[in-house]
Amino acid sequence: MKAAVVVFPGSNCDRDAKTVLTQVTGKAPAMVWHGDAELPEADLIVLPGGFSYGDYLRSGAMAAHSPIMREVIARAKAGTPVLGICNGFQVLTETGLLPGVLMRNRSLRFICKDVRLKVERNDTIYTRSYEAGEIVTIPIAHKDGNYFADDETLARVEGEGLVAFRYVSESGGLDDDANPNGSQHNIAGLYNERGNVLGMMPHPERLAEPALGGTDGAKIFTSLLEALH
């Protein structure tokens, strides 16, 4: 599996993504600068976390219009898997590849902590190493992760099973207390209709080896390796 990680000015999880991809696939991913118009051949494109363009205007808004994104959007539409983590998820909503928007957290605070997530489905390229309904621990670190979409969009997202992960309590309940940022329906991650694009606020690359305190995040990457070879 050949991966490419897009690096924007202000990305700060690009090297974490590189580390986990190298460990899991045995090959270092191509690191692609945002100003490049050409994207190398890749089986997976990762939009990493960070604060691209200083979050100017809206988180992800400027990055969504950077030269490399034209090619990323074209590849995503052609079926190439695109994984957006945190700021990458914000970029994906700003491009329109995923519906809705990530607003300021309801507490107005930057939140950095481990959260429990429920893996909604395990029949996707991103989650086949998990059990369906499995409760996993993955950290979040964001100020704009409050998922919002209009009622019609939410109904469609739920109806088509596009929710990838939800914030839950330890027992798996959808309590408001378990919702760190005010996201509608406790949504933490979302697929596009085709299932090749995944955006998620939690950082799987930050909990992907025992030295970091857990490995729940690694299964996203092992799933991809298994699905894409």
Partner: protein
């Protein structure tokens, strides 16, 4: 021409920053203050003297970048240079 663009959250979209501002105004003694909503103001100088073309250009800028129309509305005024 100069465009003065105002971007506001759509009615019904939660505005936690507006709420925090409202709380601060109450704390300063502005007891009658209610329903504070915050937004953005952007000025753009446009190299276009035809009002209709300038209008079309500003609307495209708002739709494509300046506003996220999932949650935001925009309005603008044009002023001849």
């Amino acid at each position: 021409m100069k465009a003065r663009i105002t971007i506001t959250l759509k009615p019904g979209v939660l505005d936690p920053q507006g709420k925090a501002i409202e709380g601060a105004l109450h704390a300063l003694g502005f007891g009658g203050v209610d329903d504070v909503r915050q937004g953005k103001y952007i000025e753009v100088e446009i190299g276009e003297s035809d009002p209709d073309r300038a209008k079309a250009e500003v609307e495209r800028m708002c739709e494509e970048l300046l506003a996220n129309t999932v949650i935001e509305n925009y309005s603008y005024e044009l002023e001849a240079a």
